[in-house]
Amino acid sequence: MNTPAAIAAVATVGMITYASRAGLIVFLADRPLPANVTRSLRYVGPAVLSALTVNLIAGGQGIDGVEFVEVAAIASAVIVAATVRNLIAALAAGMATLWLLLLLL
């Protein structure tokens, strides 16, 4: 990605981020969101972040870009996050699994 494209991307994401934070505060003060909008927004987080995880693992090479060690790292991070409820522990478990498998395999 060249510099002008990168600057444009960062600036656009910045404006969108600000708009999503400020929109209801600055422009629509104290107007409640419809129930179905609230419901949809609640599932945006898990849906997009899990899709993004899969996409980053593939690294733009389709299913061939998915390595076993990466899947194992993700799986242990998910298990630790779900049981210990701690992001640092999840990250540590994921990376430890990755490094252990890279050493062994």
């Binding site: 994401v13 609640r42 898990p46 972040l49 640092i88």
Partner: protein, 246 residues
């Protein structure tokens, strides 16, 4: 804030001190995230300075991490659209906090939202009895603390990251981080459905050009989550599962 319930007027400095005391424990889990982002910036297909500037321009960890890590493979439009979708949760925060902003000065209504990260939302939404001016000072103190500490931890990650050999495979860390965030956020069954469908559909759609699979997966996941939510609500004979606070 216990101090408020006693009816005593807190000095500005006391409000700032209580904001920092409350803000610090919530920031500690964000430190490794900041370090991962710093390392991802050294790996990014974007020029380092531009990728670093996401701290000042975007100031939202997940959207920043997506922006700098997708730069290698995604088109401009996919990158922006993905970051926009990741940020949609802020609309919820904005909606929930807007009553507190209604009587605030104009400058604060424009500046405040820029600082509105997950931790700041968690801290300020619960302080319902705090009077407006104190709430504003609390919000700004905690928000500026997060802004400075976040930028610092990302910068440390950036400095350290460039000296770590590629064999350590730190390029996998952003995906591990996102997976951990998803799993931490899963507290109910519709959320689990949304995450599984989002990941599964994205996997099937990996060959869609321009990383379009992310958005296809995300939209499918949201629809599946809503369907599961409505189905559960109907089964439990509740009028609407969304009636609680988000």
């Amino acid at each position: 804030m216990l101090e408020d319930r006693t009816g005593n007027e807190l000095t500005g400095r006391e409000v700032t001190a209580s904001a920092l005391r409350a803000a610090l424990p919530l920031f500690i889990p964000a430190i490794p995230f900041g370090l991962v982002l710093g390392v991802a910036i050294t790996d990014s297909a974007m020029p380092t300075a531009v990728a670093w500037s996401t701290n000042l321009v975007i100031f939202a960890g997940a959207a920043q991490l997506a922006t700098v890590s997708l730069a290698a493979t995604a088109t401009w439009l996919t990158l922006v659209a993905t970051a926009a979708v990741i940020n949609l949760r802020h609309v919820m925060y904005s909606a929930a906090l807007s009553p507190r902003f209604k009587d605030q000065p104009r400058w604060f209504r424009w500046l405040g939202p820029f600082l509105l990260i997950d931790q700041l939302f968690a801290l300020t939404i619960v302080r319902t009895d705090t009077p407006g001016p104190q709430w504003r000072r609390f919000y700004l103190s905690a928000g500026i603390f997060y802004f400075v500490s976040w930028t610092t931890s990302v910068t440390i990650g950036l400095a350290v990251g460039s000296s770590i050999p590629t064999e350590w495979r730190l390029d996998v860390a952003p995906a591990v981080m996102f997976a951990g965030l998803v799993a931490l956020g899963l507290t109910n069954r519709p959320g689990i459905v949304a995450a599984i469908v989002g990941a599964g559909v994205c996997l099937l759609a990996l060959d869609v050009p321009n990383n379009g699979g992310i958005l296809i997966g995300a939209i499918s996941g949201v629809i599946a989550g809503c369907v599961a939510d409505l189905a559960l609500a109907r089964r439990d004979h509740r009028p609407d599962a969304t009636s609680g606070t988000p």
